[in-house]
Amino acid sequence: MKFTEEHEWLREEGGEMVVGITIHAAAQLGDVVFVELPEEGITVSKDDEVVVIESVKAASDILAPVDGEITEVNAALADNPAMVNDDPQGEAWFFKMTVSDPSQLEEFMDEAGYQKFIA
């Protein structure tokens, strides 16, 4: 698993990247009550706002970590946004995407690096 400075994680699965937010980020957001997911099939650029997470108090954006295409979104989050608090690095992934420029993955941290980053 790789981690971004925006507190996202990326996990490779069948040539695509599965993207979610970290346990640390979920704890900071507090109780998540609404997740607005992107449309499947759209092309995104790194740092595009692709997901909006609404906690009880505020809305936060999740950015596309790399250039690519959104291939699948986690529809279960629409019905059960609290999953983001319960299992942010497992069941509560947000979307899957292709990676058009693999070199963009090089800057991301590994788990140990991320733990140091948030310490």
């Binding site: 009550v33 609404f34 607005e36």
Partner: protein, 374 residues
Amino acid sequence: MTGSDTTPLHGLHLELGAKMIPFAGYDMPVQYRAGVMQEHLHTRAAAGLFDVSHMGQVRLSGPSWEAVAGAFETLVPMDVKGLADGRQRYGFFTSDAGGIEDDLMFARAGDDLMVVVNAACKAADIAHMRAGLPGEISVDALSDRALVALQGPRAQAVMAGLDARAAQMRFMDVAELEPGGLAVVASRSGYTGEDGYEISVPAAEAERLARLLLEHEDVMPVGLGARDSLRLEAGLCLYGHDIDATTDPVSAALTWAIQKVRRRGGDRAGGFPGADVIFERMDQGDGPRRVGLQPEGRAPMREGVQIFDSAEGGDPVGHVTSGGFGPTVGAPVAMGYVPHALSAPGTGLWGEVRGKRLPVNVTALPFVPANFKR
């Protein structure tokens, strides 16, 4: 605005793991470890303890109750003279333009009037009272006192366990109590829509009182986050958001707080700032109106969301002044202003969230029925 001031409970907040934020010049707990959702639901199910010491406690005293109450009636459109000893009332200061300068609670304690005002307005309110009241009325800021609120259906049992007299108090009663031997002044009120008490205590004793209340298994510390969602579900205005100097009591749907005796035709009609403007608005009955707004979907409509009367095009007809997720309702809830003609419950409107128009319905307030002990 900085968060440099602290309340007498600041150390306790940190010890309880509170997440602190700057609020009205104070460093205040927005939530504790349980989080906003749990704190909100616990308050509705049992009892929540809130530090509201940042609010201003002010004592007005003078040669007689008549003098004090009469003087205060020149600043507020409320029936002050008719207030019985040991009773409390909701009110607001008005401006010459008919706007709301701040909202407040006032209570009669013998010949004195005890006023609780919002933290962000307290310096201006004290100056306003000193300037507007005759010299024989002294205006004393009780800065050596803390204020905590115990709110929720278990509040009575908790307080009565510490002083049995607490159970005899009705909604809006004020009494001196001695929980755990501490001399406090408690009102049977709050700002969550729940039964409960607001307890004024000497600053030096505040932490002892808070710990005494928190010892009870039904009591959980609750921060400003849940206080906001609780008062929103209860349909109660937050000053600076739902009401301010640009909103008058008629558009704010607060005319219920203006007693008949102070209205046109009443024995002590008018005599407060902006009376003519406010009476005219009461007669006209048009203009914008504060309403409840219930979004149909799951997306919260927060403060600033523009309201439209059509799914596409046109200018906004209103806006959201408070909005978020209502944990007890289990759905997004909001309040805002819409034209009078669109203010009937059931009216279907649209709120624009991130560029998309989403359906929202005008709803009667409150979202959650009040649970006061009448």
